[in-house]
Subunit: 322 residues, 2 copies
């Protein structure tokens, strides 16, 4: 796969290759059930726990697929990305496992903890001004100077195929799912879920879930073009990004719709999962859980898969304590 | 089994019966591993997740075994216990599942949340003064008036056999464990673990772990008699109780020793499990994890089972935020 094909949707073959490639390095995360949430919703719920994934989020799947599909020439020149979130750590770890060098462009004001985590995985960190323009400029400069492969966090066919492996595993483990719910930020996870269902379980519908306070994906689908999420203000800080061209096209073609939920519902759902299931999920993961009770989605009697996207939370500042 | 035998240690037969009885109603909780904690300790660690058990703690196992081993005559008269902790909810749920009535004696100053939880499981709550004397007096009165069976939270052979099923499952799932670590409060869980290893895996040593601030079990074993934990002051509020005669005798005969850990190590271990394993454990569960790094226990190269006893935490007040 060369750079011209990374902006085309991955096909059946690419998904199968990703499943095999990612399966060797990522955790096959458990699928949990909860009699509490089943009672509450009248549905049969299956929670795919990407909060237990390496680096604490599904992002490792995409990064792993992208890095392990590079040629040996490409591997010699390393990989680069700009990210201050889970993609940065995911790419750093995938590069270390593959024995290549990762350079992560981070804003000067990134938290010390996140910078340290990326460095712990062996990546080089390059700082830039905290603007989108500066990040992209610095990243482009590194690509030009070093020939490193740019690994975009979501608008990349290899990343989407990698993220699809969470839903692929879920569909292998739980037969006859009626519905899969996933959060949508940049759309890598949601478009991966949509393609996994499209190719591996066509009867399974896929619905995206999004904070009402950052509802750019819902509005973009309605408008038929990508609308930016400005200024997004949600506690679900993994979902601030706007869709990319590739994820937009896949979601438009294969996702039934986007359900939005408000901030208080996200916080309540997050707390409820912590209390009842005794697992730590980040706010973005609580978005599909909140959607279950939004009144905007009829799940009674259905078999519903939910992707819990990650578990990276600042334990000093919990949202219900604000 | 009648009331004279509930103060004798359960034997091989009682443990096997408990395994079968409890297995029908309790969750077979997962055993998790963590490359982070393996690296940190140089051991192979296997975490038995009783935080995922019904009512959020191993206590359901003992209550379930006790209630389901009652005769139909006894069932007609119901069960009673005094408890403001996990045993109260565990007994209430077990009684509901068995179709008998539970009466729980709770101190007037018990938190509203705990009272509501017990009532949610269908038990009757009777309040008393918040002294040990008042609790025991009120409980004895109910036993006398109603003929209900008193189900002690730990000093009861049926309870100990029930708690042993956590370690029995762990030993079935993970072969050749060198060591099992469990927290000790009243000693029901620890003595159950010790008997499970004694009968089912004699090569496996069992070590208790206890807060230094409530080290009555360690001191009792040293003194050769039960010493009260007065005044215990630990964040591990599941471990405040002193040993009973039965649990003392079993622990004396079958537990290698007790390792104590200080409060700051308990809090650090709890936070570390939350951050790295993305699961919610209560402070008592963090006690054996803290013991791993105490310097008082050499686990390098060993296969070590750890019982994570429960996950009931007040999410509004986390210990590292105090």
């Amino acid at each position: 796969m060369n750079s011209s094909t990374i902006l085309e949707p991955p096909g059946r073959q690419e998904l199968a290759e990703a499943r095999s490639r990612v399966g060797r390095y990522a955790h096959r995360t458990p699928v949990l059930t909860s009699s509490h949430f089943d009672r509450l919703t009248g549905a049969e719920l299956y929670f795919k726990c990407e909060n237990f994934q390496k680096v604490g989020a599904f992002k490792f799947r995409g990064a792993c697929n992208a890095v392990f599909s590079l040629s040996s020439d490409e591997l010699e020149r390393g990989v680069v990305a700009h990210s201050s979130g889970n993609h940065a750590q995911a790419l750093a770890l995938a590069a270390r496992l593959r024995g290549t060098r990762a350079t992560i462009v981070m804003p000067e004001n990134a938290s010390a903890i996140k910078v340290a985590a990326v460095r712990d995985y062996g990546a080089d960190v390059v700082f830039c001004q905290p603007t989108q323009e500066a990040r992209e400029g610095e990243t482009a400069r590194i690509v030009q100077e070093t020939g490193a492969s740019l690994i975009h966090p979501f608008n990349d066919s290899r990343i989407i195929a990698g993220q699809s492996t969470a839903a692929q595993e879920l569909l292998e483990e739980v037969a006859e799912l009626d519905l899969i719910l996933a959060p949508v930020g940049g759309g890598g996870l949601l478009s991966g879920c949509a393609l996994a269902a499209h190719y591996n379980s066509p009867r399974t519908r896929v619905v995206g879930t999004e904070p009402a306070a950052a509802d750019d994906a819902a509005r973009s689908l309605e408008a038929g073009r990508i609308l930016p999420a400005v200024p997004p203000a949600t506690i679900a800080d993994g979902l601030l990004t706007s869709l990319g061209e590739l994820t937009f096209a896949i979601i438009r073609d294969h996702v039934e719709r986007i359900v939005t939920v408000d901030e208080s519902a996200i916080i309540a759902a997050m707390r409820s999962v912590w209390e009842r299931m005794k697992i730590i999920i980040e706010p973005s993961s609580a978005v599909p859980v909140a959607a279950l009770s939004s009144g905007d989605l009829d799940v009674r009697g259905r078999r519903v898969g939910i992707i819990l996207s990650g578990g990276n939370v600042d334990l000093d500042r919990l949202p219900w304590q604000a």
